[in-house]
Amino acid sequence: MSKTQPQSTFDPPRDDLAVHIQHLNYFFGAGDLSKQVLFDISLDLPRGQIVILTGPSGSGKTTLLTLAGALRRLQDGSLRVLGKELVGLGDRALVNVRRNIGFIFQAHNLFESLTASQNVEMAVELTGNFSSKRDQAVAMLSALGLADRVDYKPQSLSGGQKQRVAIARALVNHPQLVLADEPTAALDKKSGRDVVTYLHNLSRQEGCTVLMVTHDNRILDVADRIINLVDGRLESDSTPNAFVHSKTQEAIAEVSADMFIM
């Protein structure tokens, strides 16, 4: 049950938006088994914004993340990532889009047979920079505090260190968009906080956009914006620190002490 929307019904592309979603619908399966998981999602993520995507399990937030990451083919609606329309793109073109996006998974997914540096270099090789790949990898790992572990294999690294290597791999090519799926779920409080602090700094310094799916309440404060997805629909979209704005401001009448005395 998928139809291709004519591109002319959507707004024109905008440079200031890293992710520009308009009326996106997504279905799993085909024919009779088709199940809709995203309903009419429209979302603008400006460049340099840190956005947390939250919601109950099964709400479709991970699906939305995978779609933004060009990991699945799209038919219905408009999803522009870093200026490129993903709806209707074939597999080969999608692969090319992925190279500009950094993925951070919940599991580090590092190759046990490669050192930390080599794992990161795998990402650099995609760009063809064979001569500088080692330097780039070491620089990235050092920025994450792993300078003395660059030649260690994952079995000699702690959980937090492995996740940082995975993050280094995701960021070494300085992608403009970083997609993270529960990046702190497997980490202790300190490592988790370090990771999100790094992402926060990175976003501020390099202007990269971070879209993170998480349940971790400890790190919500790092976000500029929290988007809540429930049953495939956008439920709310707020900035965590402006908590006053989520309540309507009551008008205050002339206050007298009698109000507070029984």
Binding site: S57, G58, T62, T63, L65, T66, G69, L71, R72, R92, V95, N96, R98, R99, F103, F105, Q106, A107, N109, L110, F111, E112, S113, L114, Q118, E121, M122, A123, E125, L126, F130, S131, R169, D181, E182, A185, V213, H215
Partner: protein, 401 residues
Amino acid sequence: MIKRIPLAWLNLTHDRRRFATSLAGVGFAVLLMFMFNGFMNALYDSQLQLLNRFNGEIIIVNRLRTNMFVPRAFARRRLYQARAFDGVQDAYAMYISEVNWKNPETRKSRGVRVIAINPDEPVLSIPEIETYRQLLKLPETALMDTKSRVEVGPVEPGIISELADRRIRLVGTFTMGTDFASGNGNLLMSDQNFLRYFADRGPEEDKRSFATVDIGVVKLEPGTNVERMVNVLRENLPNDVLVMARDGDNGFVIRERNYWQENTNIGFVFSLLTSMGFFVGIILVYQILYTDVADHWAEYATLKAMGYKNGYLLGVVMQEAMILSVLGFIPGVLVSQLLYTAAGNATGLFFQMTPERIVNLLIATFIMCLVSGAIAVRKVQTTDPADVFLTLTQVLSQVSS
């Protein structure tokens, strides 16, 4: 070092124990193929031991002698006729038959093959004939093949026993090797002795005399064109004899080999067994590759999410297949070489590891690994990078709820 990270090599070798067992597995499959192939070739090659010792370029036999050991004779006159042609240096006579030899120790009779020639004629390239030439001219004497099977008993000069119920004395030994028709061993004697023992071998064989010959060996003048000579003889000799070059594509050796290939089950059985070895190899290598893909499925899917093409992953799997095939082949060959020697000693058959056979089996090993790789690769192709997200989150949500 400006080159790609060798992911295939590193993945394969990371776990040393697993790598060693993988190579052992491939080596085993290679070993199986070598052994079965080796047995088959040994059986064929052994048939040709005698043939390869004929001191002549052209062979003449009775046309009905479909393989070398069919007991059909032709007239010696044909040899005289052959000698008359230009280019023919000489034409020698040879007799051959299968007879019972009594083991002097166990007193049990065993079939052996008897070959008879004129000791003064250089019919066979067996140096011991020269050594024992005078002794062979004595009555009731023979040389025994040291490679005869154990059942014939002790093989030394001086042994006296019975051949076809008649007394015989071994005056020396030579080395050749057994095959199907030789039964348990080979005996070499003079033609005169042969005719004394075996002029009449009963209804199964043609009667023999000096007027008949079992196999004619024609030696050409040096530099004579063999093919031309074969044609000349064919045109000029009557049709009751078959004239063939010994070597070459249409030669006697090949004909013999083809006979054994087509008329026995050797070819079928051993080819079947070799194929089984091949398929065992495919399954083994596929297992190894599949396990690597399955164990590292999340990592490979992550590569896809990073932007690696499917082609790269296929390349990694195929590289692993190649590495396994080459490195597994080496121990396989080495052990096979040892086993060839052992088997040769045990059976008396001629086990030969020729460069051609090594190359053939190396190619077979390559193909074996390519096929396994191609099958394993399909698994990789179906890896959906998005599943890496979903599966993990689903697992986590199950755990936390």
